[in-house]
Amino acid sequence: MHELSIALSIIEMAEEEIARQGNVQVTAIHLKLGRLSGVAREALLSSFEMACEGTVLQGSRLVIEDLPIIVYCPKCDAQRPINSVEWFLCPVCRTATPQIVQGKELQVAALEIAEALPA
């Protein structure tokens, strides 16, 4: 269970960006989450909600985009999505391949910002 420390890192990252942008209010954080990232989606969502309390991000949403695993198949010379983390096989020609093109992502892609009204 390391999702809480991941959630804290996400909040810290957003807070830094908020400081850089001046007086802005973040309403949502968009996150790319690969299936091989080692992070559990549901645990991250509840950790995020808990960790936001009392910060400037309280009430903001964490929007998670799940990224499938994509491998490179040397036989087909093509990138192929795989459906199961348990079988690193090309879905077309069944060649085993360890070359991962996508799936390890754990990345803050964007912040949704509501411009603050002039005081």
Partner: protein, 222 residues
């Protein structure tokens, strides 16, 4: 006037800080000429016994040291120090994995040039350590025969992220009717092409093959 939402692109890795520290560690290790190996596995799969034997066998010819992570106690460090190697315990408290900053902190004041091999034993956990790069050159995942052959399928991320798999406690394999073919198939399913070695730290079987593998890999003749 209602505020208009706008999207601000960030595109930053959440574990950026860990990755930066890990990269710096990797460079430091390379400059100092020390080969760094980390070990991950579930609790009780024999990491400490395997490491104690490895340190003891390397000790006469090489300068070896180890960092060992646990939530509590210095027990593993005490065991490993019997090998005469320098051993530092990292007590993580409630944290379920080691990260690069913990490694960096534990190595404060060390002269890395005075070492040939440094081993980092992670907290026993097949989930969380997968996300954290520690700056190591080689990551071993251990699987004991008593755990069952399907562990790689249940925890694919950690097996996929490792460089070599070591099957431990082979002296118990017959007693638990360990299925070698199934174990190897499952490892190859989640990490095609992965090298698999097997050892019994208790009986000594397989240890020399492991040391030969290590010696070839880092080009340090035994």
């Amino acid at each position: 006037m209602t505020p208009v939402p706008r999207l601000l692109e960030v595109r930053q890795n959440v574990l950026k800080h860990n990755d930066v520290v890990a990269r710096a560690l990797r460079e430091r290790f390379r400059d100092a000429g020390v080969f760094v190996i980390s070990l991950v596995s579930s609790p009780g799969s024999g990491k400490t016994a395997f490491l104690e034997k490895t340190l003891t066998l390397l000790q006469p010819r090489f300068r070896v040291a180890a960092l060992v992570g646990d939530l509590a106690t210095e027990n593993d460090a005490v065991r490993l120090r019997r090998s005469q190697a320098r051993v530092e315990q990292i007590v993580t408290g409630t944290v379920c994995h080691l990260d690069a900053t913990m490694v960096e902190k534990a190595l404060e004041g060390w002269d890395l040039h005075a070492l040939d091999f440094l081993f980092i034993e992670n907290v026993g956990n097949l989930v969380c350590p997968a996300s954290y790069d520690l700056g190591e050159a080689l990551r071993l995942v251990l699987l004991s025969v008593t755990e069952g052959e399907d562990k790689p399928l249940k925890y694919p991320t950690i097996f996929n992220g490792a460089d070599i798999a070591i099957i431990t406690k082979t002296d118990l394999a017959a007693a638990v009717e360990f299925d070698w073919v199934a174990a190897n198939d499952n490892i190859q399913a989640v990490r095609p092409g992965m090298q698999v070695l097997s050892v019994s730290a208790k009986k000594g079987e397989g240890l020399h093959d492991w040391l030969r593998y290590l010696s070839t890999l880092c080009d340090r003749p035994l």
